[in-house]
Amino acid sequence: MSTDTTAAEAQPPTTAKAPLLEAEHVKLYFPIKQGVLIDRTVGHVHAVDDVSLSLNEGETMGVVGESGCGKSTLARCFVRLLEPTDGALRYRGKDITHLNRRALDPMRREVQLVFQDPVSSLNPRKRVGQIIGTPLRLHGMEGRKVEERVRDLLGRVGLNPEHINRFPHEFSGGQRQRIGIARALAVDPQLIVLDEPVSALDVSIQAQVVNLLDDLQDDLGLSYVFIAHDLSVVRHVSDQIAVMYLGKLMELSPARELYTKPMHPYTEALLEAIPIPDPEENSRRERNVLSGEPPNPINPPSGCRFHTRCPHATEVCRAVEPPLAEYAGGHVTACHHPLNVSAEEIKAATRSPLSPISSGDEMPSANGASSAPAARSGETEPTTPAREADDGGQRV
């Protein structure tokens, strides 16, 4: 695990173009302290547990998972608001894993964060002009130029530049999110990490904001990391999508393929859980409602983290953590019994360098995926397992 310290200079040979942002076996454990006088660490929350990803310039990486899967923690690592417990983060090839505040300064300008809740992420006592102007002043701009730039930015995100002296409460939710985006754009960033940027908005407004982000990317050549809790919105913005569960990367795939050919049972469950807004289609399709709830991240399950809820789980899933197997087209998944792949595809699969260090060597076996790899629906046998996993969804 400490081998990464010297690897900062070495460029990974996977892509010709150097990636903008790279995460290599990133771990972030939050300690749980207990005791009155002396804080003893009694355990760790395994928020992000050995995740490797890389983002190319001008592309969008969607990161999807349910609450507690570590997606927001990972986002905060990317902008270095949190320091990873282990692993390495590189921005334009430069190791930023353990840099201090001052050393991070140039990178802070290039990497910005947009938060989920547009109400609590804007200071209610400051006018819009001050909110968007602050990052400009911090980076050395002065006087009238700041106001000019702020007006320009307001127009850019589809707000009226005349509203520069208004307070956040005078705007609607969608407009406030636009202010958050304008603030992030102020310093000409290269990469914007969007932490559920549209989850708090109404559907018709969501579409407006997603389209705005799309336009900004085209015009300014931005790269995005787009965090979301379900697979519906990310589809429209992402080039690649990473599915996380309980701190681990479950599947990483080119965006289009993830929807037509989900390989991990969890991805499939996420897709099936989204109702289709069409009564006939909805009643026609067979849906397997995933039972149980995500286990406790303090004591994650052995082997594959998903095995407690997985309808396909077998002995090997309980014992061995599956490595990330790479299939054709850069589709990567960590599953012993992948779906929608043929025996040949499984044979041709290789162990991906993104695989967690602790994962086993056992590659998925061809006879494991005996079911026909054709259509998504109806492939899984209609098991109706007990409603709850053993822990009954209890939280500590």
């Binding site: 109404d202 559907v203 018709s204 589809r235 859980a273 109702p275 009564p279 709850e388």
Partner: protein
Amino acid sequence: MAAERLLEVDELQVSFVTEDGVVKAVDGVSFTLDRGEVVAIVGESGSGKSVTAMTLMGLTRGPNARFAGSAKLKGEELVTASEDKLQKVRGEEIAMIFQDPISSLSPVHRIGDQIVEQIRTHEKISKAAALDRTVQLMERVGIPRAAERARAYPHEFSGGMRQRAMIAMALSLSPSVLIADEPTTALDVTIQAQILEEMRQLSRESDSGVIFVTHDLGVVADIADRIVVMYSGRVVEQGTLNEIFYDPQHPYTWGLLGSVTRMDREPPHRLPAIPGQPPSLVNAPTGCHFRPRCPHAFDKCGEVPPLESHVNDDPSHLDRCWLDVDDKRKRREVEDGRIGLGTGSVAA
């Protein structure tokens, strides 16, 4: 076969007097609910869908609230009912499930005790009998090891389990009307699917009427029999599930249907969005409230369109729009073609 009519809401109006002026939260809402039926009230934030639901239980009463119109439960008026009368109605006749279970449950009482208390407020039975019933209810909504978990506090439950406990509480007195106000919005998708499955089963078994308030048309397609679409305090369209999804009449409904992402189709190049924002409820535009955002608005829209049947005089399918039906279908086809959706086929 005519099922028993449970609720009849007629031209209900709710406004609140505030410093900034009178907020017309609900401005003429009419709909009915029969036994065994699931009616979904759909709308975005500020459309008045929650205020409508809460008014039925008398939860919007206050010194600054003004009411007009009527809402009848089995023929009895709710809007002007006395507080004593409402106290009996709440829980026994109408029960409500809220969006956020953590703030709707008392953090300092055990889950089981909270349900027992509700039962014993309305019925004269012993604590032990009430607890028995509580455990049964909790089992019924899918809480494992219910006898043990009844002794737990809300913080020991996960979000999905808390919502199940809320449902158990709502069902404890076998109400004839169950109001669910965005019951799955705060939950993860896989848990949402579980809760919806649960609610579908319960509504089939219990034979009560369900009002399902939501902003998510996907969820609606999953659970509703009839749909009421609200915009800016008014009902803009109502009809059966198929009528709303396959032959929607109001341009706002088109916009709503268009902006939902569909997992079963190729995504459009650009997400269809409704331009602009919902109007302020203090200074709503004259005439049709959707006029400023509607691409089809014309002179006549300065007058408020009545909520009427326009399609084959079908009394179940009503809408508030001045456009001619055939003209609308043509326009809708053009719009769908433009945004790359399939043609909205007219329900046979």
